[in-house]
Symmetry: C2
Subunit: 319 residues, 2 copies
């Protein structure tokens, strides 16, 4: 299982390539929240989300012989792009299995980052079967989006940076949470480097599997995994590797509405000058609209891959 030494090792492997993203703030944001808010702008990471950290960590940790064959991932979104770019920079093949009805722009971006994209029909084909067949034929290593100890270690490097970049004490660190790779990685990093900081996962209403899992102490699932504008953080349930870490270290989850995510995107645009996608704005939305404390709060803006139409919808909340 992932521990702090694995996170530190991942940070060393990432050092030459990762973007150390800034922590941003604004008196206008503080005023809305009624407390000081510090935003770790991980949307400024390579490929527009923190996922590059985990992708690079996993690929750079592979045995060189194995790595040469390449990697495979299932994803239509940020993990696809993070793995593809990390693979490209290593000069190895990446195969990404994507649903044929994924947004065209994401398919094209993934191809443009050098990956071989294999499309499947969600209704009639099994992505697991296709993935298993291709992996076996070509000896590719599967990189899961969160239930992979090196991926968790890579995401945890974001937590090391938070500990190094801020002087804030006794604060919550709000993280947009899907399967929990980033949240659990940051939790482990803070446990070692800044134990007065406590992570709390943030999720959209109706997809609060992690919050419910933390409440009950056992993995809970969502009834469905579509129908949210926060696509980047919708997963069936917290992971088998990530949940035990969260259960031990995380504070209670926070749940936000889609409308609050759109308003948070607009405020990030207006006051911080960063582009955040709906799922990447859940933690900022929680800080702005669900304050249950007047303590300083740190927020991770996890990604910024959003279509112009959706971004315009967010801007409409302040026009």
């Amino acid at each position: 299982v992932t521990d702090i030494s694995m996170i530190r090792a991942a940070a060393e492997r990432l050092a030459p390539v990762v973007r150390k993203t800034p922590i941003l703030n604004s008196p206008f944001v503080d005023e809305i929240a009624g407390r000081r808010v510090f935003v770790k702008a991980e949307c400024l990471q390579h490929t527009g989300s923190f996922k590059f950290r985990g992708g690079w960590s996993a690929i750079s940790a592979m045995d060189e012989e194995q790595r040469k064959n390449g990697v495979i991932a299932f994803s239509s979104g940020n993990h696809a792009q993070g793995v593809s770019m990390a693979a490209k920079m290593h000069g190895i093949p990446a195969v990404i299995i994507m649903p044929s009805n994924a947004p065209k722009i994401k398919i094209e971006n993934t191809k443009a980052l050098g990956a071989e994209v294999v499309l499947y029909d969600r209704a009639t084909e099994s992505r697991d079967e296709i993935g298993a067949r291709i992996s076996a034929e070509r000896k590719l290593q599967l990189i899961k989006p969160y239930d992979n100890q090196y991926v968790i270690a890579g995401q945890g490097t974001c937590g090391l940076e938070i500990a190094e970049q801020t002087n804030v004490k006794d604060a919550d660190v709000l993280v947009c949470c899907g399967g929990g790779g980033l949240t659990s990685g940051i939790a482990l990093a803070l446990e070692a480097e800044a134990p007065s900081l406590r992570v709390r996962p943030c999720e959209p209403e109706g997809f609060d599997d992690v919050a419910r899992s933390l409440l009950t102490g056992a993995i809970q699932t969502n009834n469905h995994v579509d129908g949210s504008i926060c696509d980047a953080i919708i997963t069936p349930s917290p992971g088998e590797l990530t949940f035990p870490i969260l259960n031990r270290l995380s504070g209670p989850g926070l749940v936000v509405t889609e409308e609050e995510c759109l308003r948070a995107m607009a405020i990030a645009y207006e006051r911080l000058k960063i582009v955040v996608e709906p799922g990447g704005a859940a933690a900022l939305a929680a800080a702005l609209f669900h304050s249950d404390s007047d303590q300083d709060v740190i927020v991770v803006a996890t990604g910024g891959n959003v279509d112009p139409a959706m971004f315009t919808r967010a801007l409409d909340t302040i026009k």
Copy 2:
């Protein structure tokens, strides 16, 4: 006149408060430009533009007795906000003289940053007379937006950061240019710290006073100073302090269209996840659409204070 030792001194005064803005890049941007492009994201600076550097530099350099009385500035835009925030952080009064028809949001932001806003009617009143009267009565120090040696030194700290953050050699550094405070400050910093980098000012079509001044070796003026969406970088002419520096150190100016600025904003949104205003995108537009070299290029994205309606117009160029 400003020299490298003044810039280094400004950097020391700024160190505890300035945001060291990141340099961003993307393979997609490189592909459009046909060369590697590195973007210094100064839109992420406090108040959303580099102007905070100059404001802080000027105020922090003042004699303490003089400073207590406060400062005054003429501006309806980014300089107003930079000076106001720097004054607020010093705990001193700031008076900003603004035209009564300035955008409401800019007036409100400036007030919210603690400044006393004095409105004047552009048609019937002289801002210089109003400013002179208030300065005399209250013993305020005027902080000009670019023809002030401490302001130039403050903007120059952006150049020190560029020299420190990049390994690029023999490259042009494209800077969105109004009166030339930032461009001349960066030029001086690079002369000392990275002499293989050369600044070049970028301006919108029809407002290319700096490019023409450099061509002729003497200060040229624009026929008019309104009617551009690039409001942040429209000035009558380069400054008396800034032009001699530019004339000595700058490469030829680059001129871009408004449409190119809007497209550059959209590409910065899509590929770098930053919010850039039209005038702040002129240098990126020059890198993308006016390449006259295949060498690496560094671009300063100078500001991000843009209304949602204008930003939506930019996004429409890629929808």
